[in-house]
Each structure stands twice: as C-alpha cells, then as structure tokens.
C-alpha cells in the first residue's frame, strides 16, 4: 500500500491562534478517497481533526473542501490522483472552502452563506390553487429537466469556487440560483414570472454571474449551476421580457452582437449598445438609454484612461482576421429553429455533458 502525505489546514477557534498546518502520513490504496485519508489520520493519529462527512459516496454533500487549491468533495477525490496532481513528493494540501467563514479546521459556516442564499430564492413550490385529486399531469421532459437541479446535494462547492461571489459576497450565487430554476422550470409552480422578476431585479441576482465556469467545473453532481442561471435569464428576458436592473441582458446582447460583427469585443461600443438592448442606434438616441449612458460615463472615461479604449479604436475598430468563421458559427446557431431549452441531464451520454455546457453558452441569447 502506498503512503501518502496529507497537509491539512487547521484552525482552532478556541486557541486564539491563527490557522496552522498539520501533516500526516497515511497508508492507503490509490483508489481510496482523500476523505478516507483524512479519516485514517483522524482514527489513528489525531482525533481532533475537524471535517464534516457522512455518506462517503458523494451523496450527502458534507465534505466539500479545497484539495490542492481546487474545490471538491473529499469523498470522491481519489487519493492517488490527488497525490499525482500535487506533484512529486509534495503533500496533498487540504483546506476549507473559500467564500464561507471557517468554524474549525475544514468545517465552514454553511448557514451564514450557503443556506442563507438558498432561503433568499423562496425555496418551496408555490402552486396556483388547490392541488388536483391525482398527480399533476406534466410533460415527462420537464421533470427530467428540473431533476438536474434536484440532483444538487447542497455541498456548497460551487459557492466556495464562485469568482463573482468572491468579488461580491452579496451575489445570490450558483447553488441558490440553480435551486431557483428547480421552481421556475417546474410546471407545477405558479410564480414563474414573479420569481424571475425578483431575481432579475436584484442587483446581486441573475446578472451578477460572469460566466466564469467555475461552478460547472467543481460541481460533483453535474448540476452545472451556470447553465441553470442561463436558463433563468433566457426565461426572464425571452419569455417574459423582464429587464434586469443592471442591464445585464442588454450588456450580453451587445456583447454577442459585437462578437458576431467584429469577432472581438469593441469596447467603445459595448456601453452604448448595452443600454440600447444591443443596438448601437437605439443606445444613442433613446432618451432613457442616453441618460443611463451619461450616468455611466465614468466607466467610459476609466476605459479611456486605462488605454482599454483608445480614441482611435473608439472611432475605428478592426475586425478579427478569420471573422468569416465566427460569422459561420453565428449563422449556424441562428439557423436552428429551437433554442436548446431543456437540461441534458440524464438523457444524454455521460461524456456529452461538457459539450452540453458549451452548447448552452453558444446558444445563449443570440
């Protein structure tokens, strides 16, 4: 049995001391989990190591931590692989998750962050009127679709990894928004519009996500929270014409239109286009849009100062060489009649999941 070196970040709130590191050597088969490694150390060497765990099978959502810097469940990370990633002779480094206060060792305060945010999205079904005598009759696909969100084990890995949350702790965040989709996408729920309006208008809501993919990458259950956020946005704007407070919809539309046209971002046009729902003309002529644009002038000026937007560039923007290819992608997507609506969840083949996530992005709001 190979020997592995674990380096755990410890914190004892009662000691008055800052966090520190402890190292443990454990003998374990390579396929066993990092959690098993930690528990072996706890069993045989130091019973005071704090970590939440229960199922050992990526089901209960207790054991999310950072392993070699990456957020993951300790119980479904093989110790052999973790050692390989750590690299020659380096210990496997295990730390508590980010974005949540540490209570002790690897245990973070999920209530203060994760569960508070889940509460924020009114996380229970709100049907219209009394239930039917038998079951609600709903399309089979709709249940499969929201079962992807239902598969969330509330482990908080995405919350710990979310970059927008790090920048803005008030952001509702990936797990809670994925939970929101579970209701918005549920045909039995009667408050779809109100839910969407609420989340779109929240300055820290739907449009705070920056598409960084971190949540998709770390989620152990393939919930792909970012995709659920995209779906929420699409329903909000596409189905209900809800405008968001910080104009994320317009911004995105502008973003996409610019890429389609130039293949790269045309920074100088982004703002005016954003406030005109993607159209440059509307952005510069509509009174409301002009007002917003003026209010945002400081941003444009900052852009000028930082050199991001040069006066020359502002007037004349180069197209990307090979722009035809970008255009071709757009044409192909435009040609599709249906937008890709439902989660691929359990319908597709295992390894198509990644592609699913990409397809989502490509088809977003075009």
């Amino acid at each position: 049995m190979p020997e592995y070196k674990l380096k755990l970040r410890r914190y004892d709130p009662e000691s008055g001391q800052p966090a520190y590191w402890s190292e443990y050597d454990v003998d374990l088969d390579a396929e066993r989990s990092v959690l098993q490694g930690i528990l072996t150390a706890r069993d045989d060497q130091d019973g005071s190591i704090g970590i939440r765990c229960s199922c050992r099978a990526a089901i209960c959502g207790s054991c999310a931590v950072r392993i070699n810097g990456k957020t993951a469940l300790a119980c479904n990370t093989a110790i052999g692989e973790a050692a390989e990633k750590a690299g020659d002779g380096n210990p496997i480094v295990v730390e508590p998750m980010n974005n949540m206060p540490v209570i002790k060792d690897l245990i973070v305060d999920m209530d203060a962050v994760h569960w508070k945010k889940v509460q924020r999205v009114v996380p229970w079904l709100l049907p219209d009127g009394d239930p039917p005598e038998r079951e609600y009759v709903v399309p089979a696909e709709s249940m499969i679709d929201i079962t992807q969100s239902m598969a969330c084990i509330q482990c908080g890995a995405c919350v710990g990894a979310c970059l927008s949350m790090e920048a803005n702790p008030d952001f509702i965040g990936p797990a809670a928004l994925a939970k929101a989709y579970r209701f918005v996408g549920d045909p039995r729920d009667g408050q779809e519009r109100e839910r969407l309006k609420d989340l779109a208008e929240d300055p820290d809501g739907l449009y705070t996500c920056t598409h960084c993919f971190a949540c998709v990458e770390v989620c152990p259950k393939d919930v792909a929270p970012m995709n659920q956020i995209m779906r929420l946005r699409r329903r909000a704007t596409g189905d209900f014409g809800i405008k968001d407070r910080n104009n994320g919809y317009g911004h995105e539309k502008a973003f996409v239109n610019l890429i389609e046209k130039y293949g790269t971002l045309h920074e100088a046009q982004l703002l005016p286009r954003s406030f005109g729902d993607g159209s440059l003309l509307k952005g510069q002529t509509e009174p409301g849009a002009v007002k917003e644009l003026i209010e945002n002038l400081p941003t444009a000026i900052r852009g000028l100062k930082s050199g991001k937007v040069s006066p020359v560039k502002a007037l004349w923007h180069h197209k990307l060489p090979g722009q035809e290819n970008v255009k071709r992608i757009f044409d192909e997507v435009h040609a599709k009649e249906d937008r890709l609506e439902l989660n691929l969840y359990i319908v597709g083949e295992g390894n198509d999941e990644e592609i699913g996530a990409m397809a989502e992005i490509a088809k977003e709001d075009v």
């Binding site: 130091d46 199922c55 050992r56 209570i103 002790k104 509460q119 598969a151 084990i153 039995r188 295992g350």
Partner: protein
C-alpha cells in the same frame, strides 16, 4: 431551555415527515439533527418508493408481497395500514413538488423492484430519497414559524418526569459544545439505522443506532433486532450500494464461471427475488468457490440499454466510475452481499407509540413491524413516511391535551459529567477507532448472511468485552467547538448496545427466517417461531428476552418461493 409540544429527534424522512405532520396538527415543534437535515442518510435511497397507485394494482397485492417478503414475521395490521395509505402519501409528495418520473402521458411512472408482483416503485431517476428529503426540507423552511430546527445538535439521552413519562432530551449543540435540556410533551425518535456496527456497510458514518440505544436505556422495548438485512449488491471493501433499481431495470448476476446462478435459487423471479434469497444465493456461490478471487460475483448492467442507464441509473454510473473505476455501461461490476438495513428496532404500535409513555419512534430506528424478517426494496422510504406522519399527528393530538411536563434535572448533570469525563480523561485505554474496527469485523464475520451458535457466541463475548473497553476510551480533542471526537465515543457506546441486542436476538432465534439464516437450524419453524423477540434492558445491563405475538389478519404462512 427550549420547550416544544412535540420534539422530533432525527431529520431524515421519518423525522421531517413527523415534524410536518405535527405542525399541521397545530403543535409547536422542534426538530433536532446531529447533521444538517439534508445530510441525513435517507438521501442515499436511490431506488424508489412503493405504492399501489396504479388502478390495475391493489394495496392487497402490495401487502401480500410485503407479508411474504417478511417471511411472515411482519405484523399484518401494520402492513395493511402502510400499503393502504401509500398511494395518498405518494400523491401528497407529488403535490409538494417531488419531481417523480413521468410516463409518456405525463403521469407518474413506475419501475420494477425485487419481491414485488407488480411494477409499483415510484422514483426520481436514482436519487429518490434525496429528492424527497430535499422537498420535505423545502417545506420545513417554509413552515419555519411552526417548526424550530436545531441543526447540528446531538441528543445524548432521553429525559423523563417524576411519573416516568417522557419529558424531553439532553442535547449538545455541536457548534459550541453547550448542553441543553429540551422539554417536550412528546418525543419522537427518528434517528435511523445502525449499519456502522458492521464493516463494511452501505450505511453512512452517522448511522450508529443512537436512538435505538437511547430508547433501550430509557426502558423501551426493542424488537426483532436479529433481523439485519444484507443487500445483494454492494461494492466489496467500502460497501457502497448498487441500487436494486439496476436489477429492476434488467441487470443479471453471474458467477465466475459465467453462470446466471439465480436460475438455481429462484427460477421464476431470478435476480428480482427477495433480498435475503438473492444474498444467500450469492454467498453460497462465493463460499462454494464459484465467486471471483476478491470474494464477489458479477452484476452485469450492460444488458440494460445505454440510454435507459443514463436516464434511470445515473447515480450508479457515478458510483461505478468514482468508487470502483468501472464503466457500468460497458462492463460488469463486482459485488457481494453487504450490511444494509435493520428490520428490527424500537417496538411501536401503528401510531408510533413505544412502551414508554410519551415516547414515539418512526423510520428505520422503529419496528412497527412492517418488514418482519426481511424488508422489500423501496418499502423503507414508505415506512418512514407513513409512520413518520402517523407518529407526528398522534403526538400532536396527545400534546394538545397536556401541560408542559417538568423533566427531572439529573440527566443534564449526568450527561455533562459523562462528556466532560471523556474529554478530560488521560489516555490509558484503546482508541475509539480500534474498538469500532474490531466490532465491525466480528459482526460481519459471525452475524451476517449465514450464522451459527458458535460464531454468534464469539460475537457476543467480543461485544461484551468491547463494551467494557469502551468505558475507558480516551480522545484527542479537548475543545468544545465541533468536538466530533467526543461524539464518536458516545456513538461507539450506542453501537455496542445495539450489537449486543442483535447478537442476543440471533442466538435466541433457533430457526432460519428472512434475513436470519442459522446453518445449525436451517429450516423455518412456524410452529415455534412465528413470534417477535423482545429485548429490554435488565438491571445488570444485559438484555432481557421476552416474546410477543405476530399479528395475522388475512394471510396464513406459506412456503416462500420466488
């Protein structure tokens, strides 16, 4: 000092359902759980939940399958109630928002499960338990005015009043280590199973039989504790479960010689015979040298269409990939029988009442008994919900006519001292983990699929010795915040109490019925043994044995053939 009409200990399906029913009955409710409620072990239930909801099916058929599955040890009045109330419970869950699988007409769809004469298992992909648990938790959040949640609080002992009626519980706030005396008019135990006594087990690390031991210590009767289910398809080594849903979807079992050996044991139902039957068949193959060198047989899921596997068995695709390195859509996976479920538990009536006034039990920690000698797949979730609801409703009704009791205060002091003692004790004795490992090994060796008196006696002696050793364990964590170490020492003692009762029951039952197969008494003996074995704590701390009748309503014992 928190006070509630109804105090629920445990927040798995049974506990949450009980809390919601009690709140609906107008009670003020507190619900305690040593882990966050959605971490409860109920979320491991992959396969589904049974109900005769389909017009072509009938509750009688469901009930008969359950009676037969129980090897005629289940109480038929309780089984009738469970099966009759099942359809409404499924509809209730559906109305609350559980995302049950639909058929093409958009109505609830089913899958087949072992020991059942019709496809009556309702499911959410293979996350049924999780989906229901999370939806009930949504409701708990919704009704947070009526239900106070104590998440990450650990109950250490039950408390009575002067008259001997239950009056509350001593509980430790894991987060800051403080000990509180909860006062309650009624207490419902819903603390789940005790699989961690065995190693390996499909059960989570928290399944340590706490409530069973606490009730036993408080004077409640335990029943049929010897009935421990070994599930036919668990991964060797770590014990993780491959759901019966796999066989429900058509997967086959093969021995190392490539024979589909179930032909010899259950020619009609094949892989979908009752769990005890399939587990014994596998163990026989393995014992007689027809297994693989790692002591397993093979489960071949590749015969199930790939699309269907991804649609309905996604969770085990992940389990195979992450925990066994096997792509179950392409190759068979090695499995063996492994500890899974305790049919026995705290003896209750059909409203969840135990022998201790004011104390209720529901879910896996209880024994109503609907599972008798062997539980059918997908009947446990049903059990937790039906009897969780009935307990909650009954407890709320009882609490209504009562004033708040006055619990005796000694327990609080005693428990405080006990925990302080463990924390402060210098290390002279063994480590908790050593004792636990020895217990797990001896139970899996002598109290598993095949048992005999000689082995069981070895197990009993070992458990008795370990109980003594457990009294002097020392721990490393001297702190108060999240001191999981000290809770581990308590759990060890609960497990050993459970283990002693399991082995005592197994020695006592001198026949083979359901999950209990005695190689020294290989036949079922209806003449002498259609009776429950009851255990209560004697003065010297050892279990005292008595018997009670099995309630028969309409089904006479027959030979069991699948």
């Amino acid at each position: 000092m928190p006070q509630h009409d109804v105090l629920v200990i445990g927040a798995g399906l049974a506990g949450q359902r009980a809390a919601l029913a009690a709140a609906e009955g107008g009670a003020s409710v507190g619900i305690i759980s040593k882990v966050h409620p959605v971490r409860s072990h109920s979320n491991a239930a992959q396969g589904g939940i049974n109900a005769a909801l389909n017009p072509e099916d009938s509750w009688e058929s469901h009930a008969f399958d359950t009676v037969k599955g129980s090897d005629y040890l289940g109480d038929q009045d309780a089984i009738e109630i469970m099966c009759r109330e099942a359809p409404d419970e499924i509809l209730h869950l559906e109305h609350l928002g559980v995302t049950f699988h639909r058929n093409e007409q958009g109505k609830l769809g089913t899958r087949a499960f072992g020991g059942a004469s019709a496809a009556r298992t309702y499911y959410v992909a293979d996350i049924t338990g999780q989906a229901i648990l999370h939806v009930l938790y949504e409701q708990l959040m919704k009704y947070s005015d009526q239900v106070d949640r104590y998440e990450e609080w650990f109950t250490t002992a039950l408390v009575k009043d002067e008259s001997g009626r239950i009056a509350g519980a001593v509980t430790r706030n894991i987060r800051d280590g403080s000990m509180e005396l909860f006062t309650a008019k009624t207490v419902i135990l819903a603390t789940g199973g005790n699989g961690q006594i065995f190693n390996p087990s499909t059960n989570a690390l928290i399944c340590t039989g706490d409530g069973i031991a606490q009730a036993y210590r408080a004077g409640a009767t335990l029943m049929d504790m010897e009935m421990i289910q070994y599930h036919p398809t668990t991964l060797a080594g770590i014990g993780l479960l491959i759901t019966e849903g796999a066989r429900g979807e058509g997967a086959h079992l093969y021995n190392a010689q490539g024979e589909r050996f179930m032909e010899r044991y259950a020619p009609n139902k094949m892989e979908l015979a009752s769990r005890d039957v399939v587990s014994r068949a596998e163990q026989t193959e393995i014992n007689e040298g027809r297994g693989f060198p790692d002591g397993t047989v093979a489960l071949d899921i590749t015969v199930v269409p790939k699309q269907r596997i991804h649609e309905a068995l996604r969770e085990i695709v992940m389990v195979g990939r992450d925990f066994a390195g096997v792509d179950i859509t392409r190759e068979p996976i090695h499995i063996k029988p492994g500890n899974h479920y305790v049919m026995g538990g705290i003896k209750t009536n059909v409203d969840g009442e135990t022998d201790v006034p004011g104390l209720y039990a529901a879910g896996e920690c209880a024994c109503v008994s609907v599972h008798g000698g062997n539980r059918l797949g997908a009947n446990s979730l049903l059990d937790t919900l039906i009897f969780g609801r009935r307990s909650g409703a009954h407890a709320a009704r009882v609490a209504k006519g009562m004033s708040m009791p006055t619990p005796t205060r000694e327990e609080l002091g005693r428990e405080r001292e006990l925990l302080d003692g463990i924390v402060k004790r210098d290390r002279t004795g063994r480590r908790v983990s050593e004792i636990k490992a020895e217990m797990g090994a001896v139970m899996d060796k002598h109290c598993a699929v095949f048992r005999d008196e000689e082995g069981l006696k070895v197990a009993l002696e070992t458990v008795k010795r370990l109980r003594e050793e457990a009294k002097t364990v020392a721990i490393d964590d001297k702190g108060t915040v999240f001191n999981q170490d000290v809770l581990g020492a308590l759990e060890l003692q609960y497990m050993l109490d459970n283990a002693e009762c399991i082995v005592t029951g197994a020695i006592e039952r001198k026949e083979s019925r359901g999950a209990q197969f005695r190689t020294d008494f290989p036949e079922r003996n209806d003449e002498e043994w259609i009776k429950h074995i009851n255990l209560s704590a004697g003065d010297d701390g050892t279990p005292e044995i008595s018997y009670s009748e099995v309630t028969m309503t309409q089904w006479e014992p027959q030979e069991r053939k699948y």
